[in-house]
Amino acid sequence: MSQLDELYREVILDHYRNPRRRGTLSGDHLHAEGVNPSCGDEFSLDIEVRDGVVVDAAMQGQGCSISQASGSMMMNTIVGKSVSDVEDLTYKFKLMMSIEEGDNPVDPDRPGSVLGDLEALQGVRKFPVRIKCAGLAWSTLSDALQQAGQES
């Protein structure tokens, strides 16, 4: 596979064209917004956290396939997880994307075993200028969870 085909995996294009959990939440929820000013990508999310568990999530945004697919996969993955599991996932995702310094946690012999579909985003590592696209949803999520931390 060429680097480009590696980057634009089918699962990424699917999430880009059919983003999951698109919308907003009503009722009590956390909200955060993120933007990449240099390219104009936007991402906003609502998450409902009950007893330390993410019970519902919805997102809105516009931008490139990488930023939107990363957000869509993230939203799908975090619902049902505890806040500490989400934080752990965020850390592993950032390691995988080399946003955080450290070894890539993904096991090449068992694809999908560590980060599920999100591992499809590994191709972005070869395109350093696009890493911030993949990271936008995650830094927005961290902003929202920080509010949760401050409230509890």
Partner: protein, 407 residues
């Protein structure tokens, strides 16, 4: 006619490879590549004549001053102006900020209006927003026609004696649309408003005689016309430059300095506080020499031909929409487009893999993006060194983008 093969060999960067392919540089609206003559002029200045200007009686200082002021003369003559009315600035952005702070802040009041177009670059929007916050003056936007040109219908309703400034670009960095410079400046004159022409895209690509435009100010940048970054120029009428206050104080810009008061040096030095970008000025002078030697008429015609070819070839790509006029007499070589549902950043990444450099994003024109109702566009832009074969490569890479996105 330009001997393109020879001309391209003047630009060392054009022979480099990017991702295993010969560079295809289609981002000259962002910044242009530099010919050897410009690089050599700056190198020679540092190697042989480096000294501070306008001070000291030693030989090197005199040489540096001569080179710096000589560059001013070249740049002034390039736009048909006098050196005494040509101020070196950091670029177009700084030039417009000089006008906004140095003139706007002192002449605008609550209820006054600043008229601009929705197609302006942030450099010609944000300074006026800041001045509007300080003075209470209001920003009023002119919108666009169906073919992306400034819509003058209804301008009579906007124009009244509260309009103090009309500011507009000579050529849009997004749509490529040119003007209408004289219609806008006539309209501004009819109500006694001052006119500002953002020449950042116009001056590099078209023969400009500033006397033919009835405007008060014109701003442009060296790096968009083969020169270095960090320098540009502000041209103004003598009267407006005289009444404009300096926005920066320091060395070079003074006549006398006492404990509590100072007096200013005459224009243009009044606006050039601190040690100026001397090497950059020298490079700017070499850039306009290069452009003049090729001929601005020749360059403009070459770009019209390339743009025609590009618009025709892009029309062959399914689901591609161009945001800009189709008539190459009404537009320059900045071609913005969208392709199906492929985001411009994805297009840019795919093209980059084939060594093709285009711009993707909002092009520092978010109000225009909102007006066009697009989050971003892709933009290919051309200059004197581009050739039709590069447009062929662009089109085939766009077809590859369609394939990658399953279209």
């Amino acid at each position: 006619m330009i001997d393109l093969e020879r001309l391209r060999s003047d630009f060392p960067i054009l022979s480099r490879e990017v991702n295993g392919h010969r560079l295809v540089y289609l981002d000259s609206a962002a910044t242009t590549q530099k010919p050897t003559a410009v690089l050599d002029s700056m190198d020679a200045y540092y190697r042989e004549s480096n000294a501070n200007v306008h001070r000291g009686a030693h030989t090197l200082s005199a040489e540096a001053t001569e080179l710096y002021e000589g560059a001013r003369t070249k740049v002034a003559h390039f736009i048909g102006a006098k050196p005494a009315q040509t101020v070196f600035t950091r670029g177009t952005t700084t030039a417009i900020n000089h006008i906004a702070y140095g003139w706007g802040l002192n002449h605008l009041n609550e209820g006054d209006k600043i008229v601009l177009t929705i197609a302006e670059h942030h450099a010609n929007i944000v300074p006026w927003q800041i001045i509007s916050r300080h003075t209470g003056a209001e920003l009023v936007y002119l919108e666009l026609t169906d073919d992306y040109r400034v819509d003058l219908n209804g301008i009579d309703r906007i124009l009244d004696d509260r309009v103090k400034i009309v500011t507009f670009s000579g050529m849009s960095n997004v749509t490529g649309a040119i003007g209408p410079i004289n219609l806008l400046s006539e309209a501004a004159r009819s109500v006694g408003a001052l006119t500002v022409l953002d020449g950042a895209q116009l001056v590099p690509h078209h023969p400009v005689d500033v006397a033919e435009f009835d405007v008060d100010f014109m701003a442009f940048s060296a790096h968009k016309m083969l020169g270095p970054t960090g320098i540009g120029a502000l041209w103004g009428t003598r009267e407006r430059l005289e009444e404009m206050e300096p926005t920066e104080g320091g060395g070079e810009m003074i006549n006398t300095v006492d404990r509590h008061v100072s007096t200013w040096a005459p224009v243009p030095h009044k606006f050039e506080a601190g040690t100026p970008p001397i090497a950059e000025a020298v490079g700017f002078g070499a850039a306009v020499d290069y452009l003049s030697a090729v001929g601005m008429d020749v360059i403009a015609q070459h770009e019209r031909d390339l743009t025609r070819y590009a618009l025709d070839r892009l029309a062959e790509v399914p689901d591609l929409k161009v945001y800009g006029p189709d008539d190459v007499l009404l537009r320059g070589g900045a071609v913005s487009f969208e392709l199906a549902d492929i985001h411009p950043h994805d297009i840019a990444t795919i093209l980059d893999q084939e060594g093709i450099a285009i711009r993707a994003g909002h092009h520092c024109a978010r109000p225009l993006m909102q007006y066009l109702d697009v989050p971003a566009t892709a933009r290919a832009s051309f200059y004197l060194y581009n050739i039709p074969e590069e447009i062929d490569k662009l089109v085939s890479a766009l077809m590859n983008a369609r394939r990658i996105f399953g279209l």
